[in-house]
């Protein structure tokens, strides 16, 4: 039942010892995966083996991958390790992040609509808004995420550059969380992802560690090519906002906090803020479900890596501004609200049902014990009204004769 209590959108019910979840309410945050004491919730992921039919394989790991390693290990060694795993090329996504940061700044500067705008890079946050805050959907910044922008760029340019057939080019993502895996597998903001496959950090890490340790023993900084660049990206909550250098900003992390902030936007308690960076996990992507390293250690690693290895980027500001105008950075499809699950499309019936919910709720002990299989007494009352629960499921309403 830990998963049920954990779920931020109350999508999980437990009946007869088994959990079921509602697809329409799930925001792919992975809270249930971490919460399950018996590791019964397993996301479906691709396996590293089925990539051999591509002639040229490129891996674009989330920058979080680097933070899983000791900062004394040079990022170049980690990339070299990935190449030894069977990839022809490793692309660092932080250059794209830097370009998109710039594009976002330009977008924010010329934006005149309703505020605050909300960052779009955490897919669970985008889902949360779609599922629970349809009125806030229009506030999501329509700028796409670095991985897809980078992957599209590669798809457009590489086949010609390398004389390859488009289908011979294999692009793979390494994800730190289930939400990004779903975003690649079943993208909501585009027809199809530009990636061919996605792996979890956890999976790649176990294969990568022995190789990286071996390589590190013989590593000589002179091996690093001149064009090597490194950046840490938006992997901990607040890094994006800091690099945007805005005045009226807010950074919020952790779904409980995010939900409170979104409620406050709706009641207009939050005013005079231009931009909100919101992430589902407490420290941002470094706390993702599929990470191996403790999030605080990962964040520290990442900060130390930034000090040691960050290479200054030369961005062509005019080109970015032009590309933004051409629409190169925008989400391919607009984000739409998912239909809310209300009681009935007929308002009169719906009001009656709500009255029923209140009546049932008042009869319940209101201690949220969870024994009925619903996370809260309110959720149980709602399930009952939807016809999905029996009053006798509540142990307090059950007759005492047995």
């Amino acid at each position: 039942m830990s998963c049920m209590r954990q779920c931020p959108t109350q999508a999980i019910r437990v009946h007869n010892g088994k959990s079921t979840f509602s697809n329409e309410l799930c925001i792919d945050c992975g809270g249930c995966i971490s919460a399950c004491p018996s590791s019964a919730i397993v996301p479906s992921i691709d396996h590293v083996e089925n990539i051999s039919h591509f002639k040229y394989k490129i891996i674009l790991p989330t920058p979080v991958l680097y933070s899983q390693f000791d900062p004394r290990i040079h990022p170049y060694v980690i990339q070299e390790g990935l190449r030894q795993l069977g990839f022809d090329e490793v692309v660092n996504l932080t250059l794209t992040s830097a370009i998109l940061t710039r594009a976002m700044k330009l977008y924010l500067r010329s934006y005149r609509g309703r505020r605050p705008l909300i960052s779009s890079y955490c897919p669970s946050i985008v889902r949360l808004i779609q599922v629970k805050y349809p009125d806030l959907v229009e506030l999501i910044i329509p700028i796409d995420v670095p991985r897809e922008i980078a992957a599209r760029e590669i798809r457009m340019t590489y086949p010609r550059k390398l004389g390859l057939k488009p289908e011979d080019l294999g692009l793979f993502y390494v994800s730190n969380c289930p939400a990004k895996i779903v975003a690649v597998r079943q993208p909501a903001e585009r027809q199809k992802s530009w990636f061919d496959g996605v792996h979890s950090i956890r999976e790649i890490y176990s294969a990568l560690v022995p190789i990286v340790n071996e390589l590190n023993k013989e590593f000589d900084p002179r091996q690093i090519p001149d064009d090597f660049s490194f950046g840490v990206g938006w992997i901990s909550s607040g890094t994006l906002t800091r690099s945007l250098r805005l005045e009226k900003w807010l950074v919020v992390a952790g779904l409980d906090n995010v939900i409170k902030i979104f409620d406050d936007i709706e009641t207009s308690r939050i005013r005079d803020i231009d931009f909100i960076e919101a992430t589902a996990h407490m420290l941002g992507c470094v706390s993702g479900t599929f990470n191996v390293e403790n999030p605080y250690v990962a964040r520290a690693n990442s900060m130390k890596q930034a000090e040691k290895y960050d290479t200054p980027l030369k961005l062509d500001e005019d080109a970015i501004s032009r590309q933004l105008e051409e629409g190169r950075f925008y989400l391919e499809n607009s984000v739409l609200p998912r239909p809310l699950r209300f009681f009935d499309t007929d308002l009169e019936i719906s009001i009656k049902r709500m009255r029923e919910r209140e009546r049932v709720f008042n009869k319940l002990p209101q201690i949220d014990c969870g024994c009925c299989g619903a996370p809260t007494c309110m959720a149980f009352a709602e399930d009952f009204v939807h016809g999905l629960a029996e009053l006798s499921d509540c142990i307090f309403l059950r007759p005492h004769h047995s």
Binding site: T267, S268, L340, D344, L347, I351, M354, E356, E382, G387
Partner: protein, 265 residues
């Protein structure tokens, strides 16, 4: 009386056994207690029940009933339709509650009520009102916004248009903040009807000496500290006025203020 007649009287939808609607029944048995159904039910009856589980259909089958009507719009959840179909039992669902259903059937039996057409059954304005109460404590800044959030979640769940929900949420929040800043406590009444949403915030506090003045933008009686916290810029009531369709403010100095706002649906 045929099951078809019961269906019409109750405006019921058939969940199983459409082909059996012409079956004659002799009695209607209304109960949620299946042991009573088995003990006292007579054969050739139809069962009116709120028990939306297979148990109801099994009991009806045991008692040789011809049909089961679920009240209050319930739906079967555990494959009871198949069971009903298999055992030739008509399974229907009506939006009426148990008492209404009994009265309607009784009326049809004794000719006191016309067999209601579906439209006639939808009560036009017979007080389909949701009435909820909330309380706000003065100076309770930690919980500021709770009532607005509760009201908002009720309206979303009922399926009110998001643009209206936003206006209600903003108005309620302004009102809530007024209570927290200026009053001891307040009772909030939410009334939700198919035609309107009404919120009334009735506070115990010092009252407003000049309501008209308070309605002007920028007029404020807040302290420096409150303004430093980002409240009391004198936009509260004007903001409610802008967001609501009707606003009535009555106040008695030394006793309190009642803010009543309406939003038309």
């Amino acid at each position: 009386m045929t099951i078809e007649t019961i269906k019409k009287v109750l405006g019921a939808t058939v969940l199983a056994g459409t082909e059996l609607l012409q079956t004659e029944i002799r009695y209607v048995y209304a109960s949620d207690l299946m042991s009573d159904v088995l003990a006292f039910g007579k054969s050739d009856s139809i069962l009116l029940t709120g028990l939306a589980s297979q148990q109801a259909v099994i009991s009806a089958h045991m008692a040789e009933f011809k049909g089961v009507v679920l009240i209050r719009g319930k739906k079967m959840k555990d494959g009871a339709e198949q069971f009903a179909h298999h055992h030739h039992i008509v399974l229907m669902s009506t939006d009426h509650d148990m008492y209404e259903s009994c009265v309607l059937i009784n009326g049809a039996l004794h000719g006191t009520a016309e067999i209601a057409a579906p439209e006639a059954q939808t009560p036009a304005n017979d007080g389909i009102i949701l009435h909820n109460h909330f309380e706000i404590e003065g100076s309770d800044f930690a919980n500021a916004g709770m009532v607005s959030t509760d009201v908002k979640s009720i309206l979303k769940k009922v399926g009110i248009d998001t643009a209206i929900v936003r206006r209600v949420a903003i108005s309620m929040y302004e009102s809530e903040m007024n209570v927290i800043m200026h009053a001891k406590r307040a009772k909030v009444d939410l009334r939700l009807a198919p035609q309107y949403i009404e919120l009334s915030v009735d506070d115990e506090g010092k009252g407003i000496p000049d309501v008209e003045l308070a309605m002007q933008e920028g007029f404020t009686t807040s302290t420096e500290e409150q303004r430093a916290m980002g409240f009391g810029s004198g936009m509260g009531l004007p903001n409610i006025k802008r967001n609501s369709d009707e606003l009535a403010v009555t106040s008695e100095v030394g006793k309190g203020t009642v803010v009543r706002m309406r939003f038309l649906l």
